[in-house]
């Protein structure tokens, strides 16, 4: 019964896109890659994923350390803020940033003075992606840090290791699977982000149009073939993501 339910809810839709790909054959798929807008969209999505992975990977480790190892006034507030992006609809994320960077937004005077453009430009896509993917690495690493406790770090410190040495030789190797898991979730989420980059980026073809917003615009313009092709590429990417998640989970279980 469970297999039937998951089959209906999860596998049947996935099979639909695979069947569509087989029906259409390779022709339209390759044609879609010839389209410069589609190409640009895919590249942009991967660039955004790389930025989110790096920035939120580093800040995720730092944030996890601060949340689990420091005690300070406002830690609870920080803890709650970290989870906020998960509760906010992507459309509202886009709106919130528009109210900062858009016309008559809070930061408009500062942006005008420096000549920077965030809304409907590349920096807007970056902040939107950073916002929606922020919690993943931090939460995964924090979870591992909680489980580990501080025994090993204390031992290292007692033996005369500097905080930096302790971090590099004890803490970082210990959290590597959690870190990997978080980074992969971040990648998947940024590749798939749609609502926030649509609202804040404006999906300008060849400029701020990502892979997902390309699919959306193609559907609107009844260019189903290219929409399905790029959707298939993203679906394939998510299979790779899923395999990586599963592998990491197994490695982690083996080590515990």
């Amino acid at each position: 019964m469970v297999a039937l339910y998951l089959g209906l809810v999860l596998l049947l839709p996935v099979s639909a896109i695979v069947a569509q790909a087989f029906r259409a054959g390779l022709g339209p798929l390759l044609q879609a890659f010839d389209d410069p807008a589609a190409n640009h969209g895919l590249q942009l999505s991967f660039v955004l994923a790389a930025i989110a992975m790096t920035a939120n990977g580093l800040l995720g480790i730092a944030g996890a350390l601060v949340l689990t190892r420091h005690r300070f006034l406002g830690r609870r507030v920080l803890d709650a803020l970290v989870d906020l992006p998960l509760a906010v609809s992507p459309v509202m994320t886009g709106l919130a940033f528009l109210l900062l960077f858009g016309r008559s937004g809070w930061l408009e005077p500062a942006l005008d003075a420096t000549g920077w453009k965030v809304a409907f430009a590349f920096p807007g896509l970056v902040v939107a992606t950073l916002f929606v993917t922020f919690p993943f690495t931090l939460r995964e690493v924090a979870y591992v840090l909680e489980e580990l406790g501080t025994d090993e770090e204390e031992a290292a410190a007692t033996l005369g290791a500097s905080p930096w040495q302790t971090f590099l030789r004890v803490t970082l190797p210990n959290v590597r699977y959690g870190l990997g898991y978080g980074v992969i979730l971040t990648t998947a989420r940024s590749l798939g982000e749609f609502g926030a980059v649509l609202v804040l980026g404006g999906a300008i073809s060849g400029h701020t149009q990502t892979a997902t917003t390309f699919i959306y615009n193609a559907l609107e313009e009844r260019q189903e073939a290219s929409a399905y092709s790029i959707a298939l590429v993203l679906a394939l990417a998510s299979v790779v993501v899923l395999a990586a998640l599963e592998w990491l989970k197994r490695r982690r279980r083996k080590e515990l």
Binding site: T68, G105, E153, E246
Partner: protein
């Protein structure tokens, strides 16, 4: 979070990292949400009420709340069943089934919508069959529930599974040996320790569903009064330049989602099942 004490009081470097993290979170998360709150509440409670009670908006909010509720009910039952199968049985394909549960985290929600259009759209054989029998799925309310069911599969399963793993299957066997029916075993033995995680997982799936955009926008047809959900209504208002209305609806939805999330966190903290 448990009470692990800091190994050493943070030195200068530690304080610098702490300040950096706080500044990043403040600028990236707190600031934009403050702008959203200010815009949504800035016109006063009266304007907020007007925005929410406008016919199309009220209808969109109601649709979002009810479709999410239907999803949550199905998800609670089927998620528990899935977790039980994963925790109790070892069968060929178990690993695959377990990986499949995480699929919604890996696949873009927009692609989920595209897949549902392909499956149930008017051109597809399945969609045509349902439409011919008076039960259209794509561009109708059922497609919203299906999209929500897809994207929230992991929530209940992953919340309940660890608790089931810790439970001793011997308890179930003992109850059965003593003559308890399957239903009694489930109700009296299996379910009581599950309640908190089942509840928090279901609440989290509901909160997640309230904001869903990508999968619904392509499959539901977005017909005002019928298949237009609240996040898509918000999107329309942004596109039409009415950011104050969009912000007002956002504030309401966000308040509900946040209230629920804090509720789920409280349950997890009280019962020591933190970790989603």
């Amino acid at each position: 979070m448990s009470n692990t004490r800091p190994a050493v009081a943070p030195g200068f470097g530690g304080l610098l990292v702490r300040a950096g993290v706080c500044a990043y979170v403040g600028a990236l998360v707190a600031l934009p949400l403050a702008a959203l709150l200010a815009e949504g509440l800035g016109q006063g409670v009266r304007a907020l009420w007007d925005a929410v009670s406008a016919p199309v908006a009220a209808e969109a909010l109601r649709l979002t709340l009810t479709t999410a509720a239907i999803m949550a009910l199905v998800n609670a039952v089927m998620g528990t069943a899935t977790a039980w199968v994963l925790a109790r049985y070892d069968f060929p394909g178990r690993g695959l089934l377990s990986a499949l549960v995480d699929l919604p985290f890996a696949i873009p929600t927009l692609v989920t919508g595209v897949m549902l259009v392909l499956l149930f759209g008017p051109q597809s054989s399945l969609g045509g069959w349902f439409a011919a029998h008076g039960f259209p799925i794509a561009f109708a309310a059922p497609s919203i529930v299906l999209a929500l069911l897809f994207i929230t599969v992991p929530f209940v399963v992953r919340a309940v599974e660890p608790v089931l793993m810790e439970q001793d299957p011997a308890e179930e066997e003992a109850a059965r040996t003593l003559g308890a029916s399957t239903f009694t075993v489930f109700w009296r033995v299996l379910l009581p320790p599950l309640w908190p995680s089942l509840l928090s997982g279901t609440i989290r799936s509901y909160a997640r569903a309230l904001g869903e955009f990508g999968s619904i926008v392509v499959v539901s047809g977005n017909i005002p009064h019928r298949t237009l959900t609240a996040p898509i209504y918000v999107f329309g208002e942004i596109e039409s330049g009415r950011s104050e209305v969009a912000a007002a609806i956002s504030v309401v939805l966000l308040a509900v989602a946040l209230g629920l999330t804090f509720g789920a966190r409280a349950i997890e903290r009280l019962t020591g099942t933190a970790r989603a």
